[in-house]
Amino acid sequence: MTKILVANRGEIACRILRTLRDMGISSVAVHSEADKDSPHVDEADEAVQVEGNDPAKSYLNIQGLLEAAGRTGATAIHPGYGFLSTNARFATACERAKLTFIGPTAAAMTTLGDKRSARSTAERCGIPVIPGARECDSPEAAQAIADRVGYPILVKAAGGGGGRGLRQVDEAAGLPEAFAAARREAESSFRDGRMLVEKFIHPARHIEIQILGDGKKAVAFGERECSLQRRFQKIIEESPSPAVSGSLRAALSDAAERLAVAAGYSNAGTVEFLLGPDGAWYFLEVNARLQVEHPITEARFGIDLVRAQVELALGGSLPAPAEPRGHAIEARINAEDPARDFLPMTGRVAALRWPHRPDLRVDAGLREGQEILPWFDPLLGKIIAWGPDREWARRRLLGGLRDLVLAGVPTNQRFLIDTLESDFFVQGETFTTTLESQSWTPPEPSKAMLVAAATAAAPPAPKSKSASPWRTRGSWRMGS
C-alpha cells in the first residue's frame, strides 16, 4: 500500500494532496506549529507536526520529516518545490530510510542540481553555456572572471535557485558588497555558500523545457517562457513562448532530453535556457523538481505532472508526449507591494473570492481568516488561463484577475492586470529585465471605490428618528 508524505505547505502541498486523493493514495501532511491551521493540513488524510526553530525550518528538518514518515507508515515522500526538493542529502536520507523520494535520484540531482556540475555536463553534451560561468570562493576570484568576460555580470548561488542568493553587478565597484550579500542569502537559504560568476546576457528571454525521465530515456513537454520576473523571481509565465519557433523548440527539447539522459535523470525536471537578443541560446540550469509554473504545461499537454511524477517514482513508464494545444498563461498572486520594490507584505486574509470560469484554473492554499506569515514565500496562489490562442488566454486571465477578491493583505493583483494589459505583453516583447525597467504606479482609486470606502468607514446616520443624533439634539434645544 502506497502512502505519500508531502513535505511542503501552501498551494503546492494542496495541489499535490488533491491529485493523491484522486489517485486513491493515502496522504500525510506535515506542518510547523505556526501552520497547524493552514489549509494544506486539512487536505491530507493525516497530519504530523514537525519541529523547527522557526516556522519555515520545520519543512527543512530532515530528521523530523523522516520520523513523521516512519510514525505514519508513509512509503514515499513528495517534496514539492523549494524547501528540501532539490536537497540531495534529503533524497539520500529518504533512500536510506527505504522511502521512495518522488524526484530524481540523489546522484542525478547532484549532477544536474548543482550549477557547476550541470554546466560541465552540458558542455560535455555539446550544449552551449553562458560565457565565463565559473565558481569562485572570493570577491577577488569573481573580479578576475568579470574582468575577462566584461560587465554586467551575475553573481549567484551555486546550490540555490528561485532568485535567492543572486545579484546583478554593473561595475567593478559594486562587486565586493554584492558578492557578500548574495553569499549571505545563499547560506541562509540553502546552507551552501558556493558562488558562481557569469556574463549577463541582455536583453534575454528565460525559456525552459519541461522534461520527464525514467533514468534511461527522457521526453520533453514543450517550453515555458518565464521572462517576466521581479527580484529575479518569475511572476507571469506562458506556454508556448511567442519567441520560440518550431526549429528552436526542437533544438531546445533535444538539448534538454540529451542532458537528462546523460545524467540518468528520472522523474520531472526543468531545463532552463537563456535566449539572447541575437537568437543564440545558452543552457542556464536544471531545476530538479516540479516547478511553480508547471500548470501551464499541464493545460496545453493535458497531463497531470504530479500524477506522472508519482507513477514514475512507483516504477511506471514514461507517458507518451501528446500534441500540445492552444496557449496557457499563469499569473502568481503574491503578498507584496509592487509600488515599493515588491516588498513582501503580511496580514490577515479578510475576504477571499476566487474566480470561476471555463478554462481558468486556480491553484491555492488559502482561506479567509488566514494569517500570512513573514517566514514564507509570498506566493498566495496562481491563476492559470488556457485559450485556443494567446490573446484569448490573456483575456481569460485578465477576466479571472478582475474577478478575484483578496483583501486584508496587499497583493500584486492590480500590477498583474496592468502588466497583462501592457503593450509589451500584448506584443510578446518580454525580457528578463522588462519589469525592472518599467516603473509602475498604482492607479488612483476610482470614484466608486472611494464612495464604497467612505460609506463603510463612516456609515450614514440611522434613518429611524429615535436613533438620529440630530433629531435628539434638536428636541433638546427646543425643550431648553
Binding site: 476610482s446 466608486a448 467612505a454 450614514p460
Partner: protein
Amino acid sequence: MANARLVENGIVKRVVRLKCRGRVHTVEVDGTEAVPRRAAVVPVPGGVWVSLDGHCEFFEPVLGSVPLPSRAADPEVRAPMTGRIVSIRVKPGDAVREGDVLVILEAMKMEYRLAAPAAGKVATVRVAERDRVEIGAVLVTMAPP
C-alpha cells in the same frame, strides 16, 4: 473631525477623508451613490478594504485637521515588514547621508536595506542583530545633522 456633515437640499452630505497609499482623498457621500455590487467592501480594525474589478486598496479614515508629518522628515526608521535583523551598519552618533544603509532586515527569504531618509546623525539604535521585529517597529532614530 474626520467627517464633516453638510446639508444641501435636505440631503445630509458627509465629507469623508480617507488615506490610501499615503495620499489623502476627500469624498462627499450622501448615501444615494451607487456602488457596483460586485465591489467587495471589507471593514477591518483601522479602516476598510475595497476591491473592485481587480483593484484592491486599503482606506484609512483620516482623523483631525493637523497636517501629517512629512515622511522625509520622519526621525524614525521603522521595519517595513515583520522579519529578522541581519545586520546593523551604524551606531549612535554616526553621521549619515541620505540613502546610506542603516540596517539590513531579512524577511520572506529576502534582504531589505533600510536607508537613511535624509542626511543626519544616528540618535539611537533600538535593535540588535538577529532580533525579530514586528512590522512598524522603530529600528533607528535620527537627529538633524
